[in-house]
């Protein structure tokens, strides 16, 4: 054991990132929680924000303040340019051919619902099928379940293989068949960090003429993404999980599809001409952005993207993989700890779900909290997944660019304490 341990410890030199410098960018990392230096391992829930992002939001309020796409005055014009500039940045970040394919919503959750109301409600009828997977976050599960119920369509579910934590694709051709109109799949599980093979699922969906919705809420924040390679019809994600502000989500869509779709929210700024008897809607993306958007949030999101690009998504991914393998190895050395998810760590992002023998995840969470460590415990908005795993919940540690091996050590130490209390 000690040999392995030494090898990995030496690996600290191999950080793909300048973590010390990065940590300086995040003011909250100077905090203590319950009297201990704050260790934030709940990145799967939301990421911390660097100073530049906080400043960009505050800067909008301090220096511009104006609403967008409406005023003829200078501050409004500048605010509009910054808002739309983020759209261009997001398009670049995910390799979208045209910024107009990027729709701002309030969350990944709203983005999925936009597809459900704007496309599916109109196009899916009784007898049709919708296919999801058992490892989805509720955000990419419940909207489809509700839609199936509303339309009389049938919901099918690609199952988990509980033995190895991967998706069981053996029945794919039956689950996605000529009745299937839409296939929804996550690109990275928020429970285990598992990145299922979306390519064969998308290929099969295309073969039967079904639309594809990819949940990138975890994936986009942790990997280099190219929507052209992905070749899905829709991709959804949230700014707050990628160092951006809360209250901003993204819907990326295929251009023609977005153009054909009905609007979702109706109101100001999405119409060209309104009379009491008829209304002409604007083109994309305006058609989908009714009302005053989260202007400060979108502007802050632009800074988050600059920040992440400056560091490099591949380097971030490598860093997380490094922490993940270190953590997996350390946890394996603790008697009574069970880790979930595929053992092939190359198929995973930096998320580690585990349980400590007799201790309920909630108890583990409380003990870690007392040690200053923030993790998520419970069902992770993925009830079907947990049900398939057959566990009452897990404790989840999830890593991001600012986390260190020392923080993993503190996690491990605290987990040992859980083990002792519940021995």
């Amino acid at each position: 054991m000690s040999t392995t341990h030494t090898t990995v410890a030496a690996g600290a030199d191999r950080y793909s990132l300048d973590v010390a410098r990065i940590r300086g960018d995040f003011p909250i990392l100077k905090q203590t929680m319950n009297g201990k230096p704050f260790v934030y391992l709940d990145n799967g829930a939301t990421a911390l924000k660097p100073e530049v992002v906080i400043d960009a939001e505050a800067g909008y309020y301090r220096e511009l303040g104006a609403n967008i796409h409406r005023g003829v005055y200078q501050f409004s014009e500048t605010a509009s340019a910054l808002y739309d500039g983020t759209r261009t940045k997001v398009a670049g970040f995910i390799g979208a051919p045209d910024p107009r394919q990027v729709i701002f919503t309030k969350s990944a959750t709203e983005s999925v619902n936009l597809i459900a109301y704007g496309w599916a409600l109109k196009n899916i009828v009784q007898g049709d099928e919708i296919c999801v997977t058992e490892i989805e976050h509720h955000a990419n599960f419940v909207p489809w379940q509700a839609l199936a119920e509303r339309t009389g369509a049938t919901l099918r579910c690609i199952p988990l293989n509980p033995a190895d934590g991967t998706l069981d694709l053996t029945g794919l051709d039956g689950l996605v068949n000529e009745r299937t109109r839409l296939v929804a799949i996550t690109a990275m599980s928020n429970v285990t960090g598992y990145m299922p093979p979306v390519a064969p699922v998308i290929a099969r969906a295309k073969a039967v003429g079904a639309l594809t919705v990819v949940d990138g809420a975890q994936w986009v924040s942790h990997s280099s993404v190219d929507v052209k390679t992905l070749d899905a019809d829709f991709l959804v994600f949230s700014a707050h999980k990628m160092c951006g502000p809360t209250g901003v989500g993204v819907l990326y869509g295929r251009e023609q599809l977005l153009e054909e779709m009905d609007p979702f929210l109706y109101g100001g700024d999405m119409v060209l001409r309104v009379r009491t008897d008829r209304t002409v809607f604007k083109e994309i993306p305006d058609k989908f952005e009714a009302g005053t958007p989260n202007i400060a949030g979108v502007i802050g999101f632009g800074s988050a993207i600059d920040y992440l690009l400056d560091i490099g998504m591949d380097a971030i991914h490598a860093h997380e993989q490094h922490l993940l393998s270190y953590a997996v190895e350390q946890m394996a050395a603790i008697d009574g700890v069970v880790c979930y998810g595929p053992t092939d760590l190359s198929t995973r992002g930096g998320i580690l779900s585990f349980n400590v023998a007799d201790a309920h995840p909630h108890d583990t969470g409380t003990i870690l909290d007392q040690d200053g460590i923030a993790v998520r415990t419970g069902l992770h908005c993925a009830h079907p997944f947990m049900h398939a795993l057959g566990v009452p919940g897990t404790t989840r540690a999830s890593f991001y660019l600012y986390n260190t091996r020392e923080e993993v050590d503190r996690l491990v130490q605290s987990v040992r304490r859980v083990r002792e209390i519940f021995a």
Binding site: D358, A359, H360, P361, H362, D363, T366, I367, Q370, T377, G378, L379, M386, P392, G393, I421, F422
Partner: protein, 145 residues
């Protein structure tokens, strides 16, 4: 204030691990489920009545140590009590956790005082109340019926 003194003391861990009351009653007069979706606690309570007396209470389900320990203590404390006594005990238990009242339980169920430390962990109070709120609602139905 240490975890082991406050909430992870022997008496709570013992009640967490106890199996005796953790059983489905097939002939229950009352039966009801309670859940805390944020943490996944999910317990079902079974009550067998004999006139105005609670003959037995059991529970089943999944939950954290605080949730299960409090459920087990509930079963131990309410067994054999009249509805009125049960109501009184439930009130005191809630008062101890929610209103900072000094606990003052009959000697034979003074183990309930062990739950007092949960007060210092606001997130966990709802764990300590789940079974108790569920049973309160169940018994209220009988009283008002």
């Amino acid at each position: 204030m240490s975890l082991e003194d406050d909430i992870y003391k022997e008496i709570i861990l013992d009640n967490y691990r106890a199996r005796k009351n953790r059983v489905r009653l097939t002939d229950a007069d009352l039966q009801s489920e309670g859940a805390n979706p944020s943490c996944g606690d999910d317990v079902e309570l079974f009550v067998k009545l004999n006139g105005e007396t609670i003959e037995t209470v059991t529970y089943e389900g999944i939950g954290c140590s605080i949730c299960c320990a409090s459920a087990n203590l509930l079963c131990e404390s309410l067994r054999g009590r009249s509805l009125a006594e049960a109501h009184e005990i439930i009130q005191r238990y809630r008062g101890m956790l929610l209103e900072d009242e000094e606990p003052d339980f009959p000697d034979e169920i003074s183990d309930l005082e062990a739950m007092q430390g949960v007060k210092h962990y606001p997130v966990r109070i709802k764990c300590a109340l789940l079974a108790w709120n569920t049973v309160r609602d169940m018994l209220e139905q009988v009283s008002s019926a």
